[in-house]
């Protein structure tokens, strides 16, 4: 019991460290909101004229949760560069010499990446209101969306930490980060439904956790959205995140060698 309590406490301390940094300088939160706003306001507005989807939901309604998940992906997938930066500074060495479980270091950082994404969710809700998106306003719905945002961010930021621990240099990391983002984004139902994908892409989208993040977010956020099996979506994202936290925890020490 003590071990679990100590693990949770240390995870939260690592997260608090990161969150305090954001509070000291919150500018990044606002600059990061620009990109999703452009996707919805420009891409969404133009693309909807082509009537890319059928059914009861209009296109802007359809893509708004997709863009929320996309911005979670884009913000989190580059999070790993922070650990390379901290390694170069010497911070990682000091943390690894403390009696903190490696998985607590990873999970704490991943949670803070999730907290970084929460203002994005708020801004996307605001844009949705401005554009007349049919939003579901239940408190539980909004809380569940925010939880999924944090979970999604935990998954992708941990994925990013794993890459950082393997490639070890900033240059290689940036290359791989760029290489991953677009395929992950396009092989999901963020801006078009899975039904219209070619068969091979359908298979990839099924093993892409982004698809499950979007399924849940869409059902929870948008009125009349197609239903999904929410416990299943959450279970898949949680299981994938837990696996990645475990892998990243065991690779973490590699970054300093």
């Amino acid at each position: 019991m003590n071990i679990i309590f100590s693990f949770i406490r240390k995870t939260l301390v690592v997260a608090e460290l990161e969150i305090r940094k954001i509070l000291h300088d919150p500018t990044e939160i606002f600059t990061r909101a620009v990109q999703p706003a452009l996707w919805i306001l420009i891409f969404g507005r133009v693309f909807e004229k082509m009537h890319p989807i059928s059914g009861s939901v209009n296109y802007i309604d359809f893509m708004t949760p997709g863009i929320l998940a996309q911005s979670v992906l884009f913000v989190s997938i580059f999070y790993g560069i922070a650990i390379i930066w901290e390694r170069d500074l010497g911070l990682t060495h000091k943390f690894l010499a403390t009696p903190t479980p490696r998985t607590a270091l990873v999970l704490g950082k991943a949670i803070s990446a999730g907290v970084r994404c929460l203002p994005l969710a708020v801004i996307i809700y605001l844009i949705a209101v401005l554009l007349g998106v049919h939003v579901k306003w239940g408190v539980l719905n909004i809380i569940a969306v925010l939880i999924m945002v944090i979970l999604g961010s935990i998954f992708f930021s941990t994925f990013s930490l794993i890459i950082a621990c393997i490639v070890k240099t900033r240059e290689r990391f940036m290359g791989i980060g760029q290489l991953l983002t677009m395929p992950l984004f396009f092989a999901s139902n963020a801006i078009y439904p899975i039904e219209i994908m070619p068969q091979w892409l359908k298979i990839i989208s099924k093993i892409n956790p982004l698809t499950y993040i979007i399924n849940a977010t869409r059902t929870l956020m948008i009125a009349d959205a197609p239903p999904t099996f929410l416990p299943g979506d959450f279970a898949i994202v949680i299981a994938a995140s837990a696996l990645f936290v475990f892998i990243a925890g065991s690779l973490y020490k590699r970054v300093i060698v």
């Binding site: 000291h24 300088d25 010497g90 060495h93 000091k94 009696p99 300093i256």
Partner: protein, 266 residues
């Protein structure tokens, strides 16, 4: 004095290169001990192994009886470590760096606050405690780093080149605080340095490393008397024992690392 740290044929290879070659070393409780040697002699690799960051290829070391290979978590609880590079977070305040770090050693919040405050006073950083660390001078940062590594009152403190890149006033203040630590807590200190005066002034014993081997270990006085030169300094001792390796230029990586540390501190 009881033995606090003991290495047993500790060895670390990187590929075919032996960075640390079968070193046997004993440090007694309460000693200030310096590791000297040219760049690439194996000092930092040895410290990384002792602080559990790098597993030895063979051999072992015991700190207060705990093995670094089989009981790393026990070791981490009783050591403090200040790496050569910067290790406090510039985007947090001095106080935050201490208070939050203390909690990683399972110190309860109330006690963590108290210790953070005390160590800020001990290191004479009260004026800047609530300022972001990126506004600190190099000497202040080093003092904060030492304060951070002392919050859990470790049995032994590892300082990897604690005064590299500092101006003379910064160096002097760091030295004073190291001696104060020893006086107040009787902490055993193992430091690496390139500054012979530092080793001479602060340390009870000095070990010379060259090409991964332990060449000699003794008190500064005995070492100076051992080379058969009148009024010898530690510098003479250093040159006497390591002249061969000094002929080799520092590697590009060493130079780059040292410049990086210096730039960040200034």
């Amino acid at each position: 004095m009881p033995v606090l740290l003991e290495t047993k044929k500790i060895t670390r290879c990187f590929g075919n290169f032996k960075a640390v070659d079968s070193i046997d070393l004993t440090i007694e409780a309460g000693e200030i001990f310096a590791l000297l040697g040219p760049n690439g002699a194996g000092k930092s690799t040895l410290i990384k192994m002792l602080t559990t960051l790098l597993p030895p290829t063979s051999g072992d070391a015991y700190i207060d009886g705990y093995s670094i290979t089989t009981q790393p978590n026990k070791v981490r609880r009783i050591i403090g470590y200040v790496p050569q590079m910067l290790s406090v977070d510039g985007s947090l305040t001095g106080y935050e760096n201490l208070f939050l770090f203390a909690k990683l050693y399972d110190i309860p919040s109330k006690e963590a606050r108290k210790r953070a405050k005390e160590s800020i006073e001990f290191m004479e950083l009260q004026q800047s405690a609530n300022k972001l660390v990126r506004t600190y001078s190099g000497g202040m940062i080093r003092r904060l780093e030492i304060a951070q590594s002392m919050l859990h009152v470790p049995r032994i403190l590892f300082l990897d080149e604690p005064t590299t890149g500092l101006d003379p006033i910064g160096v002097k203040m760091v030295w004073e605080h190291i001696l104060n630590l020893k006086k107040k807590y009787n902490t055993t200190i193992l430091l690496t340095t390139h500054i012979m005066e530092e080793a001479d002034k602060l340390c009870n014993r000095v070990a010379l490393l060259s090409r991964g081997n332990l060449v000699v270990a003794d008190t500064p006085e005995n070492l100076k008397n051992s080379i058969g030169k009148k009024e010898a300094t530690l510098e003479d001792v250093f040159i006497h024992y390591t002249s061969e390796s000094l002929a080799n230029e520092n590697s590009f990586r060493d130079v780059m690392r040292q410049r990086k540390t210096e730039n960040r501190i200034q």
